[in-house]
């Protein structure tokens, strides 16, 4: 079943964050539907909407982000989009 998930990336702004994060995503053959990014109080914040075939793959993807998280001091979370829909849309 096709589902959408939200990848959020937060950390200190530096060169190459988008490149390294999106590389992991493309290496896993995942399609990105939307990206928005901003700098908030010196913190890099990026939110991506991606397509997921099997929600149970989220855990493996989360694992694959680990090296990037450690190398760049980022915090990367993946969550199914449904939870945001439920909380913010009636």
């Amino acid at each position: 079943m096709q589902k959408r998930a939200v990848v959020s990336v937060v950390g200190k702004d530096q060169v190459g964050i988008i490149a390294k994060v999106t590389t992991v995503i493309s290496d896993n053959n995942i399609n990105i539907l939307d990206i928005s990014q901003t700098i908030l109080e010196g913190f890099f914040t990026m939110i991506m909407l991606i397509e997921i075939n099997d929600p149970s793959n989220l855990e493996t993807l989360q694992e694959k982000f680990k090296p990037v998280e450690q190398a760049l001091g980022l915090k990367i979370n993946i969550q199914l989009e449904d939870v945001f829909q439920a909380m913010h849309r009636v």
């Binding site: 939200v6 959020s8 937060v10 939307d34 928005s36 901003t38 914040t45 939110i47 929600p55 149970s56 989220l58 855990e59 989360q62 915090k75 979370n77 993946i78 969550q79 199914l80 989009e81 449904d82 939870v83 945001f84 829909q85 439920a86 909380m87 913010h88 849309r89």
Partner: protein, 453 residues
Amino acid sequence: MPIAFTEIQETIRMVEMEHLDIRTVTMGISLRDCADHDFEKVKQKVYEKITSYAKDLQTTANQVAKEYGVPIINKRIAISPAAELLGNATKEQAIELAETLDKAAQTLDVDFIGGFSALVHKGISKGDQILLDALPEALSKTERVCSSISVATTRTGINMDAVGQMGQIIHDTAKFTQDNNSIGCAKLVVFCNPVEDNPFMAGAFHGAGEGEAVLSVGVSGPGVVLHALKRYPDADLGEVSDVIKKTAFKITRAGEIIGRVVAERLNVPFGIMDLSLAPTNAMNDSVAEILEEIGLERVGTHGTIAALALMNDAVKKGGAMASSYVGGLSGAFIPVSEDNGMIRGIEEGALNLSKLEAMTCVCSVGLDMIALEGNASPETLSAIIADEAAIGMINKKTTAVRVIPVIGKKEGETVEFGGLLGRAPIIGVSEFSSEKLIQRGGRIPAPLQSLIN
């Protein structure tokens, strides 16, 4: 409409920084079909039923929590009141049943199993009495078994004979577990108007009107409400209510979607969402601090009841809009040992037992996790229960008493329960006796439902 950047950030902030979590997913399981004339078979059936129905509870809940990025803190089991199985049993067998439940909870790796319970608000059946007799020992010999006893309802009045017994049972449980700060009492709740679908411990049980199995969800988030209010330091009280309502709405929606997914994957009907602001000892995860943020220098001072009433009602309004099936105790819990703000209120002399009693008139439950001096007499404990039951009976609400008379400790000392149960300053009780009231026994008749002033 696509979700906005700020909305996504808000959710992430709630989880990462403000302690938004699903406090518990609780599977209710009916054990009525486990009755048998051979008690060995009863125990075997009980163990097998619980461990087969809930075998995937832990893994499924963890998996869903990961996928949705909202932590599920506790996974728990609530069973139909155990007294129903004890009609022909002995006290020793009742204790063995509690041990069986404990073993099932260990096998499933759930931290609590609730429902070692009896409903005695009108009268005490044979099975009920066996369970009551077994309680102090059962609670001292088990780790994860929780018990709740219903001693009063608005429609039946207060069973003062049961109230009288409960004072003694709490006293004995405290003694049986005195080497461990009388911790047994933390697993025992005495109810007026209990709800049958409450997912929170220690008072969870699977009520008589429930189906074979059901999954209910308790969400919490005092931290989220507190942070939301901090952004509106000058709002008037109508706006404060609105902020709490909106926050409660979002929290409930998150809980509902996750609860439904867990229920669906476990192939069990979704029961109810219980939106209760249940504090923890984590920084800023305190109900008392919300009250202080609304405008009290310290919880317990004049105005505490008004602030709590506002908050409790706003939480319910937001929750009721967010889910089709809001139930359980929904509202605000005011346990003392699990809330750093409440602990501070008592330590600084702003909050006392009388004020806590008054707060239970407008909060969602009752006197919760309050450590009393160890020499409180059984009759005094009974009288505390009677007062609380009267508040619940007259106000048509659930009230409960979960007090821990800590043997060997006096007013002013502090007791450490550890873990989720936290720590608490010891509160003194009145030096005047209530013995005659309790000794009279009998039932306090059900109150009039009209002439309500």
